[in-house]
Symmetry: C2
Subunit: 239 residues, 2 copies
DNA sequence: ATTTGTTATTATGTATAACATAATACAAAT
DNA sequence: ATTTGTATTATGTTATACATAATAACAAAT
């Protein structure tokens, strides 16, 4: 029997919240760059008129997202935040929403389809040689061990990301992979046997398209290769 | 004249580091789910034999990455971490490495090229109507104001992401956009006049491909549309 | 009977003081 | 000249105390 007063509650920012903002401003306003030192905890505390406790918690937040680094017992300096690092903990927590998990599943497909141009622009002969070795292993390894199969699958696609030359993309995909596997196994309908509309494009064929510098065929082949996954998320869309 | 003793330094994890891990373990081992309450600060402090200060800093980290939420003066509960949220602060800090910035620039192109399949699977007539309105505005707005042009450009491509139906992708792209603009303007060589190898594909044409359900033409057109950007990152690759 | 006021309890927010420990610079010793 | 000792400094950690908001239980008022 709650009455909806339709009035927005006033947001009481905590001291730490405010201090965090102030320190961020301080860094920006002083045009500080990576490597530059920032004032000591006590200096901040005195300047802002709050206790060291509050300062420490605000600094702790900045440290958590990676924009400052503390040299123990020495001081703090600005540092390059790691774009990817925080994802790891988030993903590792197993607390993401189901919808987000599915979004991530799609994201991985999107990335792989979208990197084709860059992949072809940057692939080297050395890359292709390595990739061929992976494919060879996949074919020789007919032991049907599901674990090995998956391992090789990951190696193949992982190599593609590596070949893109985009480290952030590569790390991002590495992070997405476990989510992909998880959603694949637990969150999507009608898991296995999938009927391909056409012939299934093998890893060997994909490799050959790369070697022949045939981007069109590769794109089509990759699309075909990923079709079962893609279809599952698209089926969902229709229902 | 450093002597290399060939002995690995012992990693001195701070108490907070350890406590953070312990609390993470606690959550996992007890199979706690979103919405579940976690013990009070004092209970943690007592159980782990450390001061409340340390507990608070560890909890602060978990709060920063979004896996717990504290109801002031009441207690803490597990919450869905926001996959994107942490990026905002990182990007806003202006402290990312140049290489990461360029990676992100590419990432945005990759996303846009890669989402075509999903885009076509999910687009609705309503979407197309909205998109058409945007294109109409773009064409009528011949005031040549760079600001307006950019605004419309953003609206058009933003709408494409919205049409993908993938909220995470959409938010991700929104985050990437300012980086994209920044790199576009400050970090890449030979900025403007770009000679298209073929005829430039306009927004109107892209819209029509969508309406005609012509995915092939759209893909090609989008590739052409993004060519100047793509070429710039690929030029870089060769040098 | 419902609302309002009172009170006690609890948990987080904040402040303060103190000590531990590692990094650094510099003096002292050999 | 290199090593060793020492003072200083800044962060890491603990302990204690109080402020404040949420909650519940119950009394008082209409």
């Amino acid at each position: 029997m709650k009455k909806d007063l339709n009035i927005t509650p006033l947001n009481t920012l905590s001291l730490v919240d405010k201090v965090e903002m102030r320190i961020n401003e301080y860094i920006k306003n002083n045009n500080l760059e990576v490597g530059d030192a920032i004032p000591k905890e006590l200096q901040f505390a005195e300047a802002l008129g709050v206790s060291r406790t509050v300062i420490r918690e605000a600094l702790s937040r900045l440290r958590t997202i990676g924009i400052i680094e503390t040299k123990k017992h020495k001081g703090m300096v600005l540092s390059h935040p790691d774009f990817i690092q925080n994802f790891e903990k988030v993903i590792d927590s197993n607390l993401l929403e189901d919808e987000t998990l599915k979004d991530i599943f799609e994201l991985r497909l999107i990335l792989e389809m979208g990197m084709v141009d860059i992949l072809f622009a940057r692939k080297t002969d050395e890359d292709l040689k390595e990739l061929e070795e992976i494919v060879n292993r996949m074919e020789s390894n007919n032991s049907e061990s599901t674990v090995f199969k998956l391992e090789n699958e990951v190696a193949f696609h992982g190599k593609l990301y590596e070949m893109s030359g985009n480290k952030t993309l590569q790390r991002f995909q590495n992070l997405l992979l476990p989510v992909f596997q998880y959603v694949h196994e637990h969150k999507l309908p009608n898991a296995e046997p999938f009927k391909y509309s056409k012939k299934f494009t093998t890893h060997r064929e994909l490799l050959n398209f790369l070697k022949d510098d045939n981007i069109k065929a590769f794109r089509k082949g990759l699309s075909n290769h990923l079709e079962p996954h893609l279809n599952r998320v698209l089926e969902k869309a229709k229902s």
